[in-house]
């Protein structure tokens, strides 16, 4: 899998963030704020782990 293929997971991350952000909240603004934070966390974790593994491969394999 190439790093670009990670883009396939971006819509999934958006869906996860919007659903998880709406759980337990009622105001639309709170939902969107929470969804934004969740999306940022997901992207940072997935992209970070992906880049880290890619760097490992580049340097040591």
């Amino acid at each position: 899998m190439r790093l670009v293929e990670l883009l396939w997971f971006f819509p999934l991350a958006i869906a996860i963030a919007l659903v998880v952000g709406a759980v337990g909240r009622r105001e639309p603004r709170a939902i969107l704020r929470s969804a934004g934070r969740t999306l940022w966390t997901l992207v940072a974790v997935v992209a970070g782990v992906g880049i880290f593994i890619r760097l490992l491969v580049v340097f040591f394999v």
Binding site: W8, F9, P11, L12, A15, I16, L18, V19, V20, A22, V23, G24, R26
Partner: protein, 226 residues
């Protein structure tokens, strides 16, 4: 007391957790609709069913299968209705070639199922909120009823006391009339109690009642008397 023009407060609805789970499992978001959150119901339906449908499309409509994708079916089955419908509608689909997006599609359908588990937990949270609100309402209504009853009892006691005070002079008067009647009856029977004794004849020794001691002369028991 309720302010004039205010609408009466209704008891909060207490939806059933079992029905909520069942409805939300069959159709994502239906649990929210049942507990009275139509906006969230539409929101969850859109994202969960949309993710599931996109995943199914990416797998070439072959991603939901009992034998081929048995492990993924566990995750997908949290979306009961869409998974059952896909199993039924795509039962005859045979993948001729594995699509490049097949694995991503499987992930989409599986994640959609797991997202529905989160959606169900949200609906259950709303059920719990409703139960808590209903319990608070019952407690407040009970206290209000007890307060009203206490006020009623106090008003009754006050009215009884007022009646007693109003009747008191009449009771005293009727008691006086009764005692007068008894007195007159006794007087008629025994000649009365208040007649003074006839005076003793002239020169007769003084008489004393049986239980009375005659008066002692002055100086009795002193040295002078001896």
């Amino acid at each position: 007391m309720m302010p004039p023009g205010a609408a009466p407060i209704r008891r909060p609805r207490c939806p059933s957790a079992t029905i909520t789970i069942l409805l939300g499992w069959i159709v994502p978001g239906l649990g929210q609709l049942y507990v009275g959150r139509p906006g969230k119901a539409a929101w969850f339906f859109l994202w969960v069913v949309g993710t599931f449908a996109l995943g199914l499309y990416l797998t070439g409509f072959a991603g939901v299968h009992r034998e081929r994708e048995a492990l993924w079916l566990i995750a997908q089955s949290f979306c009961g209705g869409p998974t059952a419908a896909s199993l039924w509608w795509t039962r005859d689909v045979v993948p001729l070639a594995r699509l490049a997006t097949y694995d991503v599609g499987l992930l989409y359908t599986g994640v959609a199922g797991l997202l529905n588990a989160i959606v169900l937990s949200d609906a259950l949270g709303t059920v719990e909120d409703g139960a808590r609100a209903a319990a608070s309402f019952d407690r407040i209504e009970g206290a209000r009823a007890a307060h009203a009853e206490a006020q009623l009892r106090a008003a009754e006691a006050e009215a009884a006391e007022r009646d007693a005070l109003r009747l008191a002079p009449e009771a005293v008067a009727s008691e006086a009339v009764a005692s007068e009647a008894v007195e007159s009856a006794l007087e008629g029977a025994f000649g009365g109690f208040d007649d003074p004794a006839p005076p003793p004849p002239e020169g007769a020794p003084p008489t004393f009642p049986d239980d009375a001691t005659p008066p002692r002369p002055s100086g009795y028991g002193t040295e002078e008397a001896r």
